[in-house]
Amino acid sequence: MDIALLENLLFAMVRSGTPLLFCGLGVLICERAGVLNLGQEGMMLMGAVVSFIVTYSSGNAGLGILAGTLAGIATSALFAFIALFLRANQVATGLALSIFGAGLAAFVGAPYVGETIQGLSALQMPLLADIPLLGRVLFAQDFLVYLSWVMAILVFLVSQRWRAGILIRAVGENPQVARKLGVPVQLIRYLAVFFGGAMAGLSGAYLSLSYTPLWAEGISAGRGWIALALVVFASWRTGRLMLGAYLFGLSSILHLLMQGFGFAVSPNLLAMTPYLVTILVLILLSRPGKKRNKVLAAPASLGKVYLPEAH
């Protein structure tokens, strides 16, 4: 394989993996805090449509990105209100959010279908971008790709290095005990959900401003669900999440690349590999007969309703 091809491959991998990375980071923090929000698709679509509309109307992509993030947070606030404040079933609330968000996004976006905007331009770093093989991949991306790396580092530090990570994990493992130790369980969960909303919103903004700068109904194409799988695949670890995001991204376009080499593989069979691999990872994480692997397994209270007054 020549260098130019490899460079292009890496570039395409980062491009198609970025929306998954954004959304996955949000899911990771949220699930670490024990909250299962299945409404990723709805939040992502709201982020995509709002950032597109704002960018189109104002001509300012920065404003669009901000608005998309806020739209994601606002949508997640709906989830937080119902699932955390009112303690409703998280699975049902998340599903309602994914159906409602998709509908609302299609609804408000309808007048903007067919409009075009100038996509985000690449921010080239002088000299560094000319390094062979990795130069373009690392130093000639657009703002949102750099931001996704910053967020990944931040999530890594928060969840694996800083004290906040211990608190989040405590809340996710056993909220009752955490509360007895004086951890503000609900507050941490609210913040985690809002962070998830912001990340899903950014993921949507990347789709409608950078990846394919246009708005179309269902532009997320199931990426919210892939992100949920991705976090499981990554066993709730940031490094693996990043690797997984790019691998999953690559697998979604692999059939196109293989056609270029004269191989015909069913794109549908390829499209199911991320899910198959994720199930495989789930199996490996929880082999029978062994003790539950605390570092790698799902947070113990994931998806369970937390009743503060119950204990």
């Binding site: 119902i82 309602a96 609302l104 069979l269 029978p288 998806g303």
Partner: protein, 358 residues
């Protein structure tokens, strides 16, 4: 404002909260349509009443409600046992795929056994898909929420692969569709003019069976106890693994039945976009119907109506079809909110410290 736990669940709100949720959805719809500048009452009429103002509309509503109800009946068993099966969509698709593949094999056959064989194949397809989730939970302790989501997407891609590949109609000009099913492998219609087929009888029969089972049998009792308190159930000697397996298999089989009823019924062939989200909408039906078979029948009619209403207002007022999803989402949101009143009282005194914000 704060929430105060009731000593015992409010019986009134158990029954009334779905009605309240529906009313709130209607009010929101009214407000939404008025802000959009369409006549709100007329639009609501067009959404909720116009589609079912005659026998044809009612027969179509039945047709739409049957797959929702079949999926929901199975899901309610799972949810009662606190097994969070999100996989009705995948089980539906696998029922359609396996049943459809068998139907294509038997397309030229005739005989009394052909139709039952096709239906059984569909049920088996759904069963098999749910069995994977059951196995993963029982042997590997994999969270069924996560595995069933993955299995939904695997099933969808299997279906897409099949209609783009091995099951594609050889005379269909490369369109990703299977051949049409012959009458021998299609479900008989109840009446020639309407599209409603005998799957309606299956749904009604199963609805009655299920309510009898839950109320009268040992198994129903076990499922309820298991859902209330898993450790108590274990103490009483109920096998966790076998109960999980039973509810998941039942749910998968019913969703598979819904899938094959759809392809061997109104659709008549395998196509890429078989499901319009029945498996997910059925989850709304379960919650809205209070996991009660008769309640779920009513709920499936209401959710079925939201699909037809979306078409109707698009025709009459040129509103986007997304209103269907908006209504479905709102309905579930409002229900989850009003359900709170079953277990809590809302107090407006400010003196007591709030318990909720930790």
């Amino acid at each position: 404002m704060r929430l105060e736990a009731r000593h015992r669940p409010s019986k009134f709100f158990v029954l009334f909260s779905p009605v309240l949720a529906a009313l709130l959805t209607l009010v929101s719809g009214y407000l939404m349509f008025s802000t959009l500048g369409t006549p709100p009452l007329e639009t609501l009429y067009s959404f909720f009443i116009f589609p079912i103002q005659d026998w044809y509309g009612i027969s179509e509503l039945m047709l739409k409600a049957v797959p929702l109800l079949l999926c929901a009946l199975g899901l309610s068993l799972c949810f009662r046992a606190k097994v969070w099966n999100i996989g009705a969509e995948g089980q539906f698709l696998m029922g359609a795929l396996v049943g459809g593949a068998v139907a294509l094999q038997l397309n030229e056959q005739s005989g009394f056994w052909v139709m039952p064989a096709v239906i059984l194949a569909g049920v088996a397809g759904g069963l098999f898909w749910a069995a994977i989730a059951a196995g993963l939970r029982n042997y590997f302790r994999c969270n069924e929420i996560l595995t069933t989501i993955m299995l939904n997407y695997i099933a969808l891609n299997l279906l897409l692969w099949a209609v783009h590949g091995p099951l594609k109609d050889p005379h269909g000009f490369n369109f990703p569709e299977s051949a049409l099913f012959s009458p021998a492998v299609s479900l008989p219609l109840i009446h020639d003019y309407y599209r409603t087929n005998i799957s309606l009888y299956f749904a009604i029969g199963l609805m009655v069976c299920l309510s009898l089972m839950m109320a009268r049998t040992q198994l129903g009792y076990r499922i309820r106890v298991f859902g209330e308190d898993e450790s108590a159930a274990r103490f009483a000697g109920f096998g966790t693994a076998s109960l999980v397996t039973i509810v998941l298999l039942a749910s998968g089989g019913l969703a598979g039945l819904a899938g094959i009823s759809e392809v061997a019924g109104p659709v008549g062939q395998l196509i890429p976009h078989l499901s319009v989200g029945y498996g997910y909408a059925a989850i709304i039906v379960v919650f809205l119907g209070r996991m009660n078979p008769f309640g779920m029948a009513l709920a499936s009619l209401l959710i079925g109506l939201t699909y037809m209403g979306g078409e109707s207002i698009q025709m009459d007022y040129n509103l986007p079809k997304a209103v269907t999803q908006l209504f479905q989402g709102m309905l579930l949101f409002f229900l989850l909110v009003t359900d709170l009143l079953i277990h809590y009282r809302v107090r407006f005194d400010l003196k007591q410290p709030t318990e909720v914000a930790n």
